[in-house]
Each structure stands twice: as C-alpha cells, then as structure tokens.
C-alpha cells in the first residue's frame, strides 16, 4: 500500500516538476510547481513527518499564490496564448542536469548507507523538532528568525518605489492623501 502511494506521489511530483518548464501559461506553470510541492509534501508525510509535511503545504500554497502574481506581472506572455521560447543554452542545461542526475543516482545506489531500519513513531517527531529547535538548535532558530526579519526589511526597501513620506505626505499625521 505504502509503495503504491509512494510511486504515485513520486511520479506525480516529477511529472509536475517537468511540466513547470514545458507549459506555456505562467499561471499553469506556477500551479504545476505548487502541485509538485504538495505531492512531495505527501512523501514527507508518508515518511512520518506529518508536521513538516503539512507546514510545507501551508507555506507553498501561500508562496505559489504570491509567485503567480509576480509571474503574471513580469512575464511577457502570462497566459501562454502566444507560445514563445524563453530559454538559453537549453542543450547545455539538459546535459548538465542529466549528468548531475546520473552522478547522484550512481551515488545513491553505490554508497552503502548506514540504514538502521525505519523510524515509525511519527507521533513524537513534532515534539522532537520543537525540543531541538528550542534547545541545541536554538542558534539555528534565532538565525532563521533574524534572517526572515532582515529579508522583510530588505525586500520592502528594494521593491518599494515610494518611501514612508510618500504614503502620508509631508505632514506625517496623514489626511493629505486618500
């Protein structure tokens, strides 16, 4: 049963990943990427990490919906009604990607992985993660927090054409605009 679910999810995730670069419509490309993420999250849940799997579902739906907005904004042909090619060095990219895959696959099957059976008690995984993030990996957690905070400031200051004085006008009390 698990094997059937695994292969169905894996095939779906890979096909949708390829579809991202095949379909003409940007909206469809974004949603194909979303589908690939959701199916990969299914694999993660299958492995016993229910919390991380569902969190990835949450994150990726939000991210991809926002991504769709930008895709439509920046692509010349968002709906794919006039197909055009927007690639460079396609053969080189294919060769490199294929080569990387071959190398990784060879490694996957040649390396004697130190497997110690499967870990099945998924109930504690969430608790473990919380304990380790609030304990030994506190530094990681804090760095992630600071990184996200810095990202917010950097992205807003990079992307905003107007400063705060534009929003409220010269008198910071507001009232002069809108």
């Amino acid at each position: 049963m698990d094997a059937v679910v695994f292969w169905a999810l894996a095939a779906g995730a890979t096909v949708l990943a390829v579809a991202v670069f095949v379909v003409d419509s940007m909206a469809r490309a974004t949603f194909a990427l979303l589908g690939s993420f959701l199916l990969a999250a299914g694999e993660i849940i299958l492995l016993g990490l229910a919390y991380l799997g569902v969190v990835i579902v949450v994150m990726m739906i939000m991210e991809m919906v926002i991504m769709a907005v930008f895709m439509v904004m920046y692509m010349m042909n968002p709906a794919g009604l006039m197909p055009m090619s927007m690639v460079h060095n396609q053969r080189g990219a294919l060769v490199i990607a294929g080569g990387v895959f071959a190398a990784l696959a060879a490694g996957i099957f040649l390396i004697p992985w130190p497997t110690q059976g499967t870990h099945s008690s998924g109930a504690d995984a969430t608790f473990d993660l919380g304990k380790v993030l609030m304990g030994p990996h506190m530094l990681t957690m804090m760095l992630l927090g600071i990184t996200l905070f810095a990202t917010m400031i950097v992205t807003v200051s990079l992307a905003a054409a107007r400063g705060r004085y534009d929003r409220l006008g010269d008198d910071l009390e507001g009232g002069s605009r809108q």
């Binding site: 909206a27 229910a50 939000m62 998924g122 969430t126």
Partner: protein, 311 residues
C-alpha cells in the same frame, strides 16, 4: 479521551453534516434578508426558494468566455468546497472526528489557505477582467487575515500544549479558551469571514466588481462556488467550537448535542455579522489587520505562553 477517531464510514457522514450546517446558515441568511426586504418570509417558503434556486443553477448553462484557461477555472471552482470538506476532517462532532490528526490545527490552516489558490485560479480562469481583479483581491485579503488567524491558532495550541484538536478540547474542561483568550477568538471569527469571503470581507466577490470571482461563474460553476463559500463559513464556525468553546464538553446534554448547539450559535453570530456590517474596502482593512490585529494577537500568544509557564 474526549475525542476519538470515528470508524471509516464517518468519511461519508462528515460532509453531510457540514452541508446540513451550511444549509441552515444559508436558510437563516435568506430568512433575515427576506424579513429586511419585507418580502414573503415564511421559513418554509425560504427553504423552497433555496432549493429551487439551486436546481435552477444546476440546469442553467455555463458561461463561455473568449480563450479561457478551462483547467485552472474548473480546478479553482471545485477546490473551494473540497477545501471546506477536507478542513472539517479534524473537526470533532461531539466525541468523534473523522481523523483526530496529531497536527490537526495545522491541517485546518492548510486547507483554509487552499481557498487563496482556489479563488485566484477561479478568477484567472475565465480570462475576464473583473474576475481576475477579484482573484487578486482574495490574495490581498488572505495576506491580511492570515497572520492574525495563525496567531489565534498558535495561542490555542500553546495553551493546550498540543496541535491535536482532541487535546485542545480536553484542556478546556474547566474554562473555555474564548473566555481568557477573547482577542484570539475575535481574530479567528474575523478570519473565518475572511476565508469564506463573506461580508464584511466580500471584496473578492464584491458588488463593485459586479461579482468579482463570481462574475463569469454561471450554472453549475456558480452553484459549486456559492455552496463552497457557505461550506467554508460552516467549517470555520464548526472549528471555532473545539478551538475556543470547549467542543462537546458541557453539562447535561450529550457531546454531539453540545457540538451542534455551539456550532449553530457561532454560525448565527457570523450570519448576523454578515448582515450588520457593510463591506470593508481592502485599503482600509489591510492596515488595520497588520497594525492592530497582528500585534494584539501576538500579545495574546504571549499571554497564553505566560499562563502555560505559570501553571
């Protein structure tokens, strides 16, 4: 155990119960509307009107637009009710939930966020100006209500020390979370109105866009998306009960009766809010959500954390 996972056939019962709750909500809504308009307002007349409207939509033709993205359109329309039904998987009805997942709260959150993607796709699909704007508005609205919603859920999960809905219910044996986390409760109810794009947050389907995401949805499409909207509202109301109002816990009556009564009460409040409040423009709502609601709900989480530490 306060909540346990029901046998497999509950998979069929849960959508039926959700549909019934949504039906009661729609019926009450139409009754209030008819009374306000001074029209014929006998309850059974309103009910037959509802059924005949649904039947008419079912046989009406779909609208054809120029160069639509049919796949995205259908997907978006269908996912709206599907998200509501999937969300309700973790909501206990009395003692039983379809599956009391260990990460139930996050699951509910994920299914609720599905409506962003669904409405954007439903707005994008028909290749129509107004409906696309409606889809974009849903993204803006989502970004406004989502963080208060998440912090409200985090407050509840912190107080109970668990993401499992059953454990959250068990922790409210003595005191409902709504009593000592009122900010979280209000933020949650507002977000329910938000993700079901119901007045006052109906800008994605606003009258100023002549229907927004609904403008090109006719026939069965319209029925599915309108029903999905009410199913989402009902799912949000049903989830408020285990999160904030002690689930099926209560004196005298059996647990399923308490769940039903509380769900209907929350749904009644939401329907009343829908009629009492005017549509709020997103330009005005987003600053309120980000500058007022998010800090308040963060304080709420802090309070919950301190209470847990002191306990």
């Amino acid at each position: 155990m306060v909540v346990e996972t029901a046998p497999l056939w509950a998979v069929l019962v849960a959508p039926a119960l959700l549909t019934a709750l949504a039906g009661v909500g729609t019926w009450a809504d139409r009754l209030v509307e008819a009374r306000a308009a001074g029209a014929a307002s006998r309850p059974e007349a309103v009910l037959t009107g509802m059924v005949s409207d649904a039947a008419r939509l079912l046989v009406a033709q779909r609208r054809a637009t120029l160069a639509p993205d049919r796949l995205m359109w259908r997907l978006g329309v269908v996912v709206v009710p599907v998200a509501a039904v999937l969300a309700v998987v973790v909501v206990p009805f009395g003692r039983w939930a379809v599956d009391d997942l260990g990460v139930g709260v996050v699951w509910f959150n994920a299914m609720e966020i599905l409506t962003w993607a669904a409405l954007w796709a439903a707005g994008w699909g028909p290749n129509s100006f107004w409906s696309l704007i409606g889809g974009y508005r849903m993204v803006v609205q989502g970004l406004a209500y989502e963080l208060p919603h998440m912090f409200a859920l985090i407050g509840v999960a912190t107080a109970a020390g668990s993401l499992q809905v059953g454990t959250i219910v068990a922790h409210q044996r003595h005191l409902w979370f709504a009593v000592w986390m009122p900010l979280g409760f209000v933020a949650y109810l507002l977000s329910v109105l938000g993700f079901s794009f119901t007045k006052p947050f109906d800008q994605p389907a606003g009258a100023d866009l002549s229907g927004g995401v609904l403008v090109e949805a006719a026939g069965a499409d319209r029925l599915v998306i309108a029903a999905g909207r009410w199913l989402l509202l009902a799912a949000g109301a049903a989830m408020a009960v285990p999160l904030f109002l002690g689930g099926g816990l209560g004196p005298g009556l059996p647990a399923w009766a308490w769940s039903t009564l509380k769900s209907l009460a929350v749904l009644g409040v939401l329907v009343a809010a829908r009629h009492r409040m005017p549509t709020i423009r997103l330009q005005r709502w987003v600053p309120v959500a980000w500058l007022v609601l998010i800090p308040l709900t963060i304080v709420q989480v802090l309070v919950a954390a301190l209470v847990v530490l002191a306990r």
